[in-house]
């Protein structure tokens, strides 16, 4: 590794998904010098994930043309793209921000970049599948729904033959359709909520997102073609197997979301794809002190103004970090953040291209802002239609692993609350250790908060979630890397204090 490979730029963008690509393209088109960092091997993020050697997402992927346009724009405007690097720390200094990077693996890397220093920072780190524990979910063959889809999109690999997809939300339908089209036998899609089928068709268009409706209808048609049973108000309540998944229990849920034991059936399966919505990746934003709020789906998200500015001067956020709302919304927000950063740095906008001068730029911003409001309404309707079932903890057993890293069972969390008096997720974490492992609570944080709420009766506040979610280091690093921090780039609070 060449040590101290430092890049400087006007604008640094973290995340090369729909939001980050749009943000970078917009800022670079205005003549700003932009660096984009992404942990993935290729740009595209979750939505436009594609395989080695492919130019972009597969034909038929929604918004594929948008990806190609954005991708080409980056090249044209000289955006520097640093792939395969994870930002593990973000700090502020007098004239901006410093990001500390490491390759996603530990072996020698020819083009390793260690730092990016920039006057403005746009965080577009997206999110990851949200999970609820279920007995047996730590067996190989149980995957995050998005993860199963990612393996398919990027490597054409389906990690099983008989698949059950379960959780809530329209994303399950997309995942199931993809797996079925790829040849897997999808034996059931279990949607924990009731009304999804109805709103999949009509109200989406009514909410002003016709493209979403078209996409949904296409997935629904794929499920019909492959005769995939779609079961509403049903959940996977147990996963059976010794060394890997052999079967799952499917149980209907009552109106409180509690399993109705009498309805339980066991079906053979070797892949279970679980997803309960998404959790935004806020690590960098929280470390930098951006203010947050609780979104309609119960996730902590960052607050932004109508130019995607966070409460920290010079720091912007776009895409899933401001609320889970899908790829179209992520692009709109990314473009808006690019426009805002351009205006804030006193650039004229796309005049160099002859594409877009001042007045039309403000018209575009206005159009994007109204699109973002529409997207927000759509997302709110979706969150309202797909809540986590209130009674879900009824399917937990005492020995069900809540924290996969530290192997903390449900019983230990109960003990922390009932016997040791923990009243909030942070204290539960201190006493029972969920969230103390390698993933730093990314996987179990949401469930731990819900379980704590269930046991104590106190709802989780944004403060409590934020305390649980605060990760001074966004990725595990070595002491050597930490030691290489110097005062100028260290975050204002030392991570180990």
């Amino acid at each position: 590794m060449r040590s101290s490979d430092v890049l400087t730029a006007d604008v640094a963008v973290v995340g090369a998904g729909p939001a980050g690509l749009a943000a970078a393209g917009e800022a670079a088109a205005a003549g700003l010098d932009v660096v984009v960092v992404d942990a993935g091997a290729r740009p595209g993020g979750q939505y436009w994930r594609h395989g080695p050697g492919a130019e972009g997402p597969a034909p038929g992927t929604h918004g594929r043309g948008t990806f190609s346009t954005l991708r080409a724009g980056l090249g044209r405007h000289g955006v520097r793209l640093v792939c395969g690097h994870q930002v593990w720390q973000a700090g502020r200094h007098d004239d901006g921000f410093v990001l500390r990077l490491r390759p996603v693996h530990d072996f020698p890397h020819d083009d390793a970049v260690e730092r990016v220093s920039a006057r403005r920072l746009i965080v577009c780190t997206g999110g990851y599948d949200r999970q609820l524990p279920v007995p047996g979910w730590d067996l190989p063959g149980v995957m995050a729904a998005g993860g199963a889809q990612a393996l398919l999109k990027e490597y054409g690999t389906v990690p099983g033959q008989r698949v059950v997809v379960a959780g809530t939300g329209p994303f399950l339908v997309a995942v199931a359709a993809g797996l079925a089209e790829a040849g897997a036998r999808v034996v059931a899609v279990c949607e924990a909520n009731a009304p999804v089928r109805g709103w999949l068709r009509r109200p989406l268009a009514a909410l002003g997102e016709p493209a979403k409706a078209v996409e949904a209808v296409r997935y629904a048609a794929a499920l019909a073609r492959h005769r995939v049973p779609y079961r509403t108000r049903t959940a996977v309540t147990r996963v059976h197997g010794d060394d890997s998944v052999r079967a799952v229990d499917l149980t209907a849920l009552d109106h409180d979301g509690r399993p109705r034991e009498a309805t339980r059936t066991t079906v053979p399966a070797d892949l279970v794809a679980l997803g309960w919505g998404f959790t935004p990746s806020l690590d960098l934003l929280l470390t930098l002190g951006a203010a947050t709020r609780l979104d309609g789906d119960g996730s902590l998200v960052v607050r932004v103004d109508d130019g995607q500015r966070t409460t920290v001067p010079g720091l912007y956020a776009a895409g899933e970090t401001t609320g889970i709302a899908g790829a179209t919304q992520a692009v709109r927000e990314g473009l808006l953040s690019g426009l805002a950063v351009t205006a804030d740095l006193g650039r004229a906008g796309r005049t160099g291209d002859g594409v877009d001068a001042g007045p039309s730029r403000s018209r575009r911003a206005a159009r994007l802002r109204s699109g973002v409001r529409r997207g927000r309404r759509f997302a709110e309707a979706l969150h309202a239609a797909c809540p986590v079932p209130a009674g879900w903890t009824a399917w937990l057993a005492g020995d069900t692993v809540v924290c996969r890293c530290e192997e903390v069972p449900f019983a230990a969390v109960c003990h922390a609350v009932r016997e040791l008096g923990a009243e909030d997720p942070r204290t539960v974490k201190m006493l029972a250790r969920p969230g103390m492992g390698m993933c730093q609570g990314r996987v179990c944080g949401f469930a731990t908060a819900l379980i704590t709420r269930h046991l104590t009766g106190h709802p989780s506040t944004a403060e409590a979630l934020s305390a649980f979610g605060k990760r001074p280091l966004a990725a595990p690093v070595t002491l050597a890397e930490l030691a290489a921090s110097d005062d100028r780039t260290a975050p204002r609070t030392a991570p180990w204090s």
């Binding site: 091997a41 090249g75 996603v104 190989p140 103390m436 993933c439 280091l473 690093v477 050597a480």
Partner: protein, 128 residues
């Protein structure tokens, strides 16, 4: 652009060594994809219960898929691409009960190849 991803590799297929077997994989596949395609769904066991683990989140977030690659422990199989001649060893850890550790994400020192213990099962507790 010096840091553009480069998917090209000289080998048409990569030979990858795992658990006494030699697997072939297309260049560009992740280690996890290469293993899963061979029907291998777990490659480490957990520190406490010794349970088998493989892929879970698939996108680098959960650290369930840890594997030792060419002597480097705790690499995420879902993020690392295969290379010809790569040696994979499972992250099975010996009796290694180091008890509690930090939640600050600091890994044991010596990232590059000099850690002796074969520990690989979730180093959240492997302390500074």
């Amino acid at each position: 652009m010096p840091h553009e991803p480069d998917d090209r590799t000289d080998a048409e297929v990569c030979r990858v060594h795992f658990g006494g077997r030699t697997l072939t994989a297309q260049p560009g596949l992740s280690v996890a994809a290469a293993l899963v395609r061979e029907g291998i769904t777990s490659w480490r066991s957990t520190r406490r219960a010794g349970g088998p683990r493989g892929l879970f989140c698939g996108i680098g977030v959960c650290y369930d898929c840890l594997i030792t690659v060419d002597g480097h422990p705790d690499q995420r199989a879902c993020l690392v691409a295969v290379r010809d001649g790569m040696r994979l060893e499972d992250g099975r850890c010996p009796e290694d009960d180091r008890g509690t550790g930090p939640d600050d994400g600091v890994r044991p020192d010596a990232a590059v190849g000099s850690r002796e213990t074969g520990h690989g099962g979730g180093s959240g507790d492997a302390v500074k």
